[in-house]
């Protein structure tokens, strides 16, 4: 892909005398010491020229025969953060015949979390999976992600390395191997005097819920050694019952899972998959049997291809909970149609429409050539419409039955209600330039158009692009409405996809109102990396 991109350019030929050279050092941002064996990459802003070198044992690199241009320098070394994520790199300008020296590249060391896990007797616990968990933003939604995980060895020791600095929660999930060895089956009758006990997954410092956990702020190059856990065996109780549901086509049965916490409060975390206190695939009679320690749980029924069908709170004190009946609702379908005002692009590109529930259920449908669609497998409740459209069009209005859902939210999906979407073919456009401000000319920036409050939920209205200071930018395909336009220094693309962060920075941007077909012009001042970092800390 990237290769084809290269081939489109016609290579200019420079004589040897006009070519320049670059030399410099790769430096550890924390200690100032040279970094050896780093791979240095110089890329011209257009991507036309790239050069590579490896730093020597003094951290030095040298590249000759360099075509005169402005270059974005990058360095990668094992155990170090990519330089572009650490801070916006200074551009390197090579003039005709110039031997550029002192072109140092700073990279930040990555961090380590290590600790020991023991049981109630102080004996090491082997095979416990320890995960470093972080909240990350993708396409406007905040999700828990396990960034790195590792199992404890025979001494109960684990070590997570190459971690980016940041705020981490630690989760430890023991294997409970012994429980699996002693399984009853129709052919084997088990008589056990071993008490039903087990170890529940916890967050540091030993709590079941992430809301109770204490995070650790990991600094660049830090080796955090205080992350020890001590587990205590707890009695196990059963949560048993049955599901009233026909098997899905192919005999696939729903899956029941007990997740720590209250269904209402943990909804955003349910799909993270790391809160399992027990999973049971119901047997022949849709019977389930989960083993958990005492605590509050949310029972979740999931169906293949449909997602979360039902949730129910269960509290386990000091006894088994029996006789639970779970009756998942019938899934429904939404039929819809699309009208295009004005002249649609020809040929009309393929379009898809997604519905996303608060529980992160996703349902998708392709729009057919007669501009209708049917989205299947939707459970009742609130859903967000996600419909990416070509920049030549924009979503003008959406009607669910007689309810205006232009803000992208269907409050409650009902059977037999039609979704009508009006697309218009005269979107607005914003062009402009980013002034250097306190940055140098040609520094890398990212630009975003942020929709105003009324439409803040419409993820499809956010528009982003990249450019450099004093360089031009264009944001196309904008629906009419009020926007704030911001420019952020750097290349960390996670930041510009973080809609929560963008809303926070919107006050520093330029206000632009788009009319149908309007072309607006703005001049922006970049928001510095340190201002972006401060805003991120406020969100966390």
């Amino acid at each position: 892909m990237r290769l084809l991109f290269f081939l489109l350019y016609i290579t200019p030929v420079f004589s040897q005398s006009t070519l320049g050279s670059i030399e410099g050092k790769v430096v550890n941002s924390l200690t100032g010491e040279p970094v050896k064996k780093a791979v240095v990459n110089l890329r011209s802003r257009t991507g036309q020229n790239t050069y590579n070198a490896v730093s020597d044992s003094y951290g030095k690199y040298h590249i000759d025969n360099v075509t005169p241009e402005k270059y974005i320098p990058e360095a990668n070394a094992e155990g170090y953060s990519q330089s572009r994520l650490a801070e916006a790199p200074k551009l390197l300008t090579v003039n005709t015949g110039q031997a550029l020296s002192g072109a140092d590249i700073t990279i930040a060391p990555l961090s380590v979390i290590t600790g020991k896990i023991s049981d109630e007797d102080g004996e090491p616990m082997q095979g416990v999976r320890v995960s470093a968990v972080q909240f990350l933003n993708f396409n406007g939604s905040r999700q828990l992600q396990a960034l790195n995980s590792s199992q404890t060895d025979d001494r109960g020791i684990y070590r997570l390395f190459d971690l980016q600095p940041g705020r981490y929660y630690l989760q430890a999930a023991p294997q409970n191997q012994a429980l699996r060895n002693v399984a009853n089956s129709p052919a084997v009758r088990v008589h056990s005097t071993v008490p039903e006990e087990g170890y529940a997954s916890v967050f540091l410092p030993g709590v079941p819920l992430i809301s109770q956990a204490s995070p650790h702020e990991l600094k660049p190059g830090e080796e955090w050694t205080g992350a020890d856990f001590k587990f205590r065996k707890q009695p196990l109780y059963h949560i048993r019952g049955h599901i009233v549901a026909d098997p899905l086509p192919g005999g696939v049965r729903p899956n029941v899972q007990a997740e720590s916490g209250d269904c209402q409060q943990t909804s955003a975390l349910l799909n993270s998959g790391i809160f399992n206190s027990g999973i049971a695939v119901p047997g022949a009679q849709n019977v389930f049997d989960l083993r958990v320690v005492s605590g509050s749980y949310c029972l979740a029924v999931r169906e293949a291809a449909r997602g979360l069908a039902l949730r129910m709170n269960v509290t386990v004190k000091d006894a088994n909970v029996d006789g639970i009946t779970l009756t998942p609702p019938q899934p429904t379908s939404i039929k819809g149609n699309i009208t295009i005002e004005g002249t649609p692009p020809s040929p009309l590109p393929a379009m898809g429409i997604n519905l996303r529930s608060d529980e992160s259920n996703q349902a998708h449908a392709q729009v057919t050539s007669d501009l209708t669609f049917q989205i299947d497998n939707i459970f009742p409740g609130k859903h967000t419409i996600v419909m990416p459209v070509t920049p030549a069009l924009f979503i003008k209005s959406m009607l669910y039955g007689s309810t205006d859902v232009t803000n992208g939210v269907i409050p409650d999906v009902q059977p037999g209600v039609t979704l009508s979407i009006v697309l218009a073919s005269d979107p607005g456009q914003i062009t402009g330039t980013v002034q250097p401000g306190s940055l140098e000319s040609g520094a890398q920036v990212m630009i975003a158009a942020i929709p105003g409050d009324a439409l803040a939920n419409r993820n499809d209205l956010y528009r982003v692009t990249r450019s450099w200071t004093e360089g031009p930018f264009t944001l196309a395909g904008l629906a009419p409405g009020a926007y704030k336009v911001v420019a952020l220094e750097g290349q960390n693309f996670e930041d510009i996809q973080n809609h929560e962060l963008l809303q926070l920075l919107a006050g520093k941007g330029a206000a632009v109102t788009i009319q149908a077909g309007s072309h607006e012009q703005v001049t922006l001042l970049p928001i510095s990396i340190s201002d972006v970092r401060q805003a991120k800390e406020r969100i966390q």
């Binding site: 081939l7 590579n52 002693v182 088990v190 009946t325």
Partner: protein, 546 residues
């Protein structure tokens, strides 16, 4: 709902009632779980008595106290296998082979309190640090603990444990069963390939000082890429081998290049290289596609199989799966012009025949296993209505028929009867007829030691005299019961030698080199159609290979 719960309650009551009935007439066991190396008691070990009799299996589970003692009472009389397990100790047959020193099944009778000790062998560990030529730690290298196994009558090193080095270059291999180990460090050179310039990518001027790519060589302990210079590590039960450090030497890495079909003829094409060096299982090399050629990069010197495969794309131009492959040796430079021509595989049609036609009603599978060194492709086809059809890469294969109580008697290619069970796709005079039969003989008997006492878990092997490619299919093996008895019921007719071993590595007797010194101690056995023979064997103490 209520009816459902009620039924469950009745069932529970019925079960506990029956348990109480047997309780009054049961036997009991008292015992200890001990560390086999130190004889010290093992606390909190899980103890299981698993029923060994036919019918519904009773299983009793308890755990040892802090003094390593346990007791189980109210046991339904019968034969039971005592098993103990504890993290850090070898457990059962999954981690090691059965030996005569295993605790045999015990017979529990009413009113009897049987004392038993169960010994567990502690596991060992190997730790160390991996550095490069400059003394810097090598991160994310794969450290493999390899042991000898017998596969297809040949001794073969297999990785039984592995660990990745951390950011300090340190590794730890643990839960190791005592034995002989060879250590191989396979470095992860992928990071280096990141800095490799694209080949002829249409960049500006080429860098005059572009360095050739180098990585670190896969290395055997104590420090050579050559297995011939490797030293084994002898790991005793519970041992902790420390400072098993290794320094990896730099090694030039090379590329393999070849032409590519153009345009639509390229659809669905994948290209990959696998190392043919039996001691370094290395693959995952990066492939780059260019306008008119491909490039495999980051390969150390050695022999490789370059594979091209093209999957069919029904809606497009490619209608059948096509393959090409070539052995390429890298010595001291890049290898150019590996221009492969894709071709469809060889399609083989065949039928299965048997004099007892009921055999054809079983679910049968035919499999083809490649025999040439470095070409280990295997293919399988389902037999439907007594016939099969399969498309395989051209080459030589051994043919196997699996499933059902039958063995492959002989093969017809067209009307020619083949001398053995090998086929060459380039020389097949016609469709295959695979003739199967079930006129098995039965071989049984007892194994005793020099003192005339029965041996438990002796490994009895029946080795076919004919050293044909199917020796593995005809080889039979069984373990003796506590009374020394063994029984092999599905022996294809033919000429064999019969041996009884104590503590032999499974598969070792198929290796002619292993068998040679013991050849005369085997009993010659001629197995006839549907025959039954009985033998009393003396146990042979076999040397351990691992």
């Amino acid at each position: 709902m209520t009816r459902y719960t009620l039924r469950a309650v009745i069932l529970c009551v019925a079960m506990s009632f029956s348990a109480r009935l047997t309780a009054q007439t049961g036997g009991s066991v008292v015992g200890r779980v001990l560390n086999a190396a130190t004889n010290s008691p093992i606390p909190h070990a899980l103890v299981t008595l698993r029923g060994a009799d036919a019918g519904p299996v009773q299983t009793y589970v308890t755990q040892t106290g802090s003094d390593g003692r346990f007791s189980i009472s109210d046991i339904v009389p019968g034969n039971y296998v005592p098993i103990a397990s504890k993290s850090g100790f070898d457990q059962g047959h999954s981690q090691r082979m059965p030996t005569p020193s295993d605790t045999p099944p015990i017979a529990i009778q009413t009113g009897q309190a049987l004392p038993i000790d169960i010994r567990l062998t502690p596991q060992a560990s190997i730790t160390g640090r991996i550095i490069d030529g400059d003394g810097d730690p090598v991160r994310r290298a794969n450290v493999q603990a390899q042991q000898y196994f017998y596969v297809g009558g040949k001794k073969d090193l297999r990785t039984t444990a592995n660990a990745a080095t951390d950011d300090r270059g340190q590794y730890r291999l643990y839960n190791l069963t005592a034995g002989k180990y060879w250590l191989l460090v396979a470095p992860n050179n992928r990071f280096l390939a990141m800095g490799l310039p694209m080949h002829g990518s249409g960049q500006g001027q080429p860098q005059a000082n572009a360095e050739p790519l180098s990585g670190l060589a896969a290395t055997y302990y104590p420090g050579s890429p050559d297995f011939g210079h490797a030293t084994e590590l002898v790991v005793t039960p519970g041992a902790a081998l420390e400072n098993i450090d290794m320094r990896l030497a730099p090694e030039r890495l090379y590329a393999i290049r070849g032409s590519l079909p153009q345009g639509e003829a390229r659809q669905g094409l994948s290209i990959y290289a696998t190392s043919l060096d039996p001691n370094t299982e290395r693959g995952g090399f990066q492939t780059r596609f260019y306008e008119d050629h491909f490039e495999l990069i980051g390969l150390p010197p050695g022999k490789y199989m370059v594979n091209e495969q093209q999957v069919s794309t029904p809606q497009r131009k490619i209608t059948e799966q096509r393959y090409a492959r070539q052995v390429v040796e890298i010595v001291d430079r890049d290898v150019e012009h590996v221009d492969l021509t894709l071709s469809p595989g060889a399609t083989i049609h065949g039928v299965i025949k048997a004099s007892d036609e009921s055999l054809l009603k079983n679910n049968l599978n035919v499999s083809f296993q490649e025999t040439d060194a470095g070409r280990a492709n295997g293919y399988g086809a389902r037999v439907a209505a007594g016939a099969f059809s399969i498309t395989i890469l051209p080459g030589t294969y051994t043919v196997h028929v699996n499933g059902g109580q039958a063995y492959l008697q002989y093969i017809l290619a067209g009307s020619d009867r083949l001398p053995d069970f090998k086929i060459d796709t380039a020389r097949l005079p016609g469709n295959l007829t695979l003739v199967i039969a079930n006129d098995f003989g039965k071989v049984e008997g007892t194994v005793t030691d020099d003192a005339g006492k029965p041996v438990y878990n002796a490994n009895v092997t029946l080795i076919p005299d004919a050293k044909t490619a199917d020796a593995q299919d005809r080889f039979r093996s069984a373990y003796t019961l506590a009374n020394g008895e063994f029984s092999m019921t599905t022996v294809p007719p033919g000429q064999y030698r019969l041996f009884a071993w104590a503590g032999v590595d499974p598969g070792a007797p198929l290796d002619p080199d292993f068998l040679k010194p013991f050849q005369e101690r085997g009993v010659a056995v001629k197995v006839e159609s549907n025959s039954k023979q009985s033998f009393d064997l003396k146990v042979i103490l076999a040397p351990h290979t691992r």
